[in-house]
């Protein structure tokens, strides 16, 4: 029974860790499918995390924090869009600039407003997204296998996890079954075809980066007001880049991207549990090596274990009407 509890808690961790990663990866999905490089996920997420924690700390409301996170991240998106869509600037430069701005600005503002050395105050339970117990969780628990799975792994997460879970099939539906999705995929492949069809390329791309900002805001709020209890300097710690890796691994499709996020999260969850554990035959593995596990996995997978990933053809290229 100990083994089962261990596995269930591992899966539970996986879900918690996967949610923000997937929200960010989905943000990247909308942006890159529209042809705008989403290297700015990291910065937008960080801005969202700070805005959420700061607002929640002041107002005591997690939901207001979420609203502020979404607004902050969307503002960052607009900046990226303004540089790369309106002014046709280099999207990599613009995205990296956004990441740098977010990293510096959040620390400076946190210090200026709260004087805690770049942190925000610890959030009370009411200013955070608490765990939700799904209906019948306790009633079903006695069922063999499925009961504990439902009670431990599926139930007992905060609302943002469930939002992320709903967004996966919803995004797949939007991408492949809706008019917006058709246009979104088209503008990332051949913006000239979209233009000649009488649809505005910049409008479509702005919509896409705004959605990207919206989702990054949720991901950021998740880090500081659901998973954590306050903002810390550089608390995204590369999750934005990991999300981008998951997007690539998922070949720019929502459901495979979800699978990639779950895989990364699983490796991460496993990693924390393996620290200090003696592996039979090898002995205790150094912590650093274990911590590197998710990243080693990323590199190995991206290096070609999953076949060739073909990005949207127009990603990174500004659209210039050229006749």
């Amino acid at each position: 029974m100990d083994g089962l509890i261990w596995i269930l808690s591992l899966l539970d961790s996986m879900v918690r860790l996967a949610a923000p990663l997937f929200l960010a990866a989905l943000a990247g999905f909308y942006s890159e499918r529209a042809g705008v490089i989403a290297l700015d996920l990291e910065g937008k997420m960080l801005a969202g995390a700070f805005a959420a924690a700061a607002t929640a700390a002041v107002t005591g409301s997690a939901w207001l924090g979420l609203g502020a996170a979404v607004i902050a991240a969307m503002a960052m998106s607009l900046l990226h869009g303004f540089a790369s869509i309106t002014h046709r600037g280099d999207q990599v430069v613009s995205a990296v600039a956004i990441n740098t701005i977010a990293l510096g600005l959040t620390a400076v503002l946190a210090n200026a407003w709260f004087g805690l050395g770049g942190r925000t105050p610890n959030l009370e339970a009411g200013a955070r997204f608490g765990e939700i117990t799904l209906p019948l969780a306790e009633t079903l628990r006695p069922l063999p296998l499925l009961g504990p799975l439902y009670a431990e792994v599926i139930s007992g997460h905060n609302i943002l996890v469930y939002i992320a879970a709903v967004l996966a099939p919803l995004s797949a539906w939007i991408a492949y079954r809706s008019r917006f999705g058709l246009r979104l995929r088209a503008v990332g492949e051949n913006p000239a075809a979209v233009d000649t069809a009488g649809i505005s390329v910049p409008a479509l791309r702005y919509q896409a980066v705004l959605i990207s900002g919206f989702l990054c805001g949720i991901a950021g709020a998740y880090l500081s007001t659901a998973q954590g209890a306050g903002f810390q300097q550089n608390m995204t710690a590369g999750k934005g880049y990991l999300a981008l890796a998951a997007l690539i691994l998922g070949k720019w499709r929502p459901l495979p991207t979800l699978a990639a996020c779950l895989l990364f999260a699983f490796a991460d969850a496993l990693q924390t549990r393996l620290q200090g554990v003696a592996v039979p035959g090898i002995g205790e593995v150094p912590v650093q090596l274990i911590e590197a596990l998710p990243y080693v996995l990323t590199v190995l997978l991206l290096a070609g274990f999953v076949g060739r990933a073909v990005p949207p053809k127009a990603v990174g290229t500004p659209y210039v009407k050229d006749r």
Binding site: S178, R179, L182, A186, A193, A197, G198, I199
Partner: protein
């Protein structure tokens, strides 16, 4: 909704009428006071040289650009077309020279784009399928609706474009150089479709520079020169010579005088040369042929069938994986480090297909573009640095000999017209008196006057006993210049013909990969 005909018009109004259209791009006056009337249910040809303003005019009609002055009338009604969506709403469709298709989408998805008929695709998709199938039947356009566009041959992709325009309700269809990417049989099929469109009352505007096509399919033709409509004819009342004269504004020379070739020894022997790309696909497969001194060998084929790779291999720009090149009795294998500089040392000169990418540096003054590839020549650098005075003097002499206008070596390369840039490149390469000249698309984007000049220079070089390998997408050019013709299809040389036995039909069939022609199985290194 029915447009009221203007009082003056007794018959039906024009499908499209352009009145005094004027458009400038900075100092370039692209369209000057253009008046054009297109009869409904007709095929109207628009001819003119590159830069005459045809594409600008059509882009204005399709809403890509706004005219500075003038009026557009559709079915007699003055309209404002602020963007493609206005044009589509007015029943104007356009098939661009470079297709506007999303290659990863299916045909049906491409048709739906911008015309989805609802926020949810499911029901719209089913409705579209029925409508499109009806259109396909009406116009004889056979297109597999569920195929992914990237997997379709170019000719079929073009039909998708036509279908797309019709599905969006086009009554007037603009086609911009539609046959540039087609093999002759595909072009024939396109013309049958256009004919069908006309018989069903649709109007077609055909932009082309191929006068044969104008004569074959159009009812009326307008000639543009320097942004102005300089002539208009009923096609039945005119001929190619008259149209060509109108295009250039003087007597155009359409025929080329050329004595029979007197070939000498082989300068180049290509034996089993194969080029494999990164995906493992053979771009050029087992090429075998010879080019002899004093002959022009033409390579015919639809663009993208291995001609470019062949030319680049011979020029030392692309490594090959198998086979041997023999240049003046010296064999070269895949691992021998044959490169562009090595090619020049061996007496090979190259006029590349893509002039602006490979032959000149746009930002350089002409005198610098005029020595590219030969910059190490001791004549230019007696000491350790380039003697620019000599280079400029040399360029001035080249410009004189090859009639490059304006005769200003200091002018930036990009400011010369396509024809004059090409003459400068030709001059640079021919002046070296190479043993073998490789020429790709020598007259692409070149005006008629310069075409005749370039053709005469190529024949003159041949008559001086040099070997020339010519790659051109223009079948007429291949037929006019070549002494021997090789036809390529799918990376292979599929046939070889002597100039005397070559006809457009025969070559066309080979280009399309239709075998059954006796010459399609030419032996390796034939008649060496």
């Amino acid at each position: 909704m029915t447009p009221v005909p203007p009082a003056a018009a007794t018959a039906q109004p024009w499908a499209v009428e352009l009145v005094g259209i004027d458009k400038r791009f900075g100092p370039v006056h692209a369209n000057r006071d253009v008046h054009l009337q297109i009869a409904a249910g007709s095929i109207h040809g628009l001819v003119g040289e590159n830069g005459a303003g045809k594409s600008t005019l059509m882009s204005i009609l399709y809403g890509f650009y706004q005219a500075d002055a003038g009026e557009i009338r559709v079915r007699g009604e003055p309209v404002r077309i602020k963007g493609p969506q206005d044009a589509i709403a007015l029943g104007i469709g356009m098939v661009h020279q470079h297709f506007m298709l999303v290659e990863t989408f299916t045909v049906l998805e491409n048709l739906l784009l911008g015309h989805e008929g609802g926020a949810v695709l499911g029901p719209a998709r089913a409705r579209a399928r029925r409508n499109v199938e009806e259109l396909e039947r009406d116009f004889g356009l056979e297109v597999p609706l569920d195929a992914v566009v990237a997997d379709l041959p170019v000719g079929v992709q073009q039909r998708v474009e036509i279908l797309k325009a019709l599905y969006r309700g086009a009554e007037v269809l603009i086609l911009d150089e539609p046959t540039a990417v087609l093999s002759p049989p595909e072009a024939q099929q396109l013309f049958r479709i256009l004919d069908r469109l006309r018989s069903q009352g649709r109007t077609v505007l055909l932009i082309t520079h191929k006068l044969k096509e104008i004569m074959a399919i159009t009812d009326h033709v307008s000639v543009l020169r320097q942004g102005q409509v300089v002539a208009g004819f009923a096609t039945a009342d005119t001929n190619e010579q008259e149209l060509a004269d109108a295009m250039v504004g003087r007597k155009a020379v359409l025929t080329l005088d050329k004595a029979p070739a007197r070939p000498g020894a082989a300068v180049l022997t290509v034996d089993g040369v194969t080029v494999t790309d990164a995906q493992g696909i053979d771009r050029l497969q087992d090429a075998r042929f010879q080019v002899r001194a004093g002959e022009i060998v033409g390579i015919a084929g639809v663009a993208g069938n291995g001609q470019s790779e062949l030319l680049e291999v011979l020029a030392g720009m692309l490594p090959f994986s198998h086979g041997t090149l023999t240049l003046k009795d010296q064999p070269i294998g895949p691992g021998d480090g044959y490169d562009a500089a090595g090619a020049r040392r061996r007496g090979v000169a190259h006029v590349p297909e893509d002039r602006l990418k490979l032959a000149v540096v746009k930002a350089f003054p002409a005198y610098q573009s005029a020595i590219l590839g030969y910059q190490d020549d001791r004549a230019f650098s007696p000491g350790w640095r380039l003697d620019w005075k000599r280079v400029v003097a040399r360029t001035a002499a080249l410009m004189e000999r090859f009639d490059v206008r304006p005769r200003n070596p200091l002018l930036k390369s990009s400011l010369f017209s396509g024809g004059n840039q090409q003459k400068l490149v030709m001059a640079r390469e021919i002046e070296r008196e190479p043993d073998l000249l490789l020429v790709g698309q020598p007259t692409r984007g070149v005006d008629i006057g310069a075409i005749a000049f370039i053709h005469r220079e190529l024949v003159a070089l041949r008559d001086r006993g040099k070997a020339i390998l010519l790659v051109s997408a223009e079948l007429e050019e291949i037929l006019a210049l070549s002494d021997r013709i090789l036809v390529m299809c799918g990376g292979r040389i599929v046939g070889e013909l002597l100039a005397a036995e070559a006809t457009e039909g025969r070559i066309g069939r080979m280009m399309a990969g239709i075998s059954g022609d006796g010459a399609a199985q030419a032996p390796a290194g034939a008649d060496a």
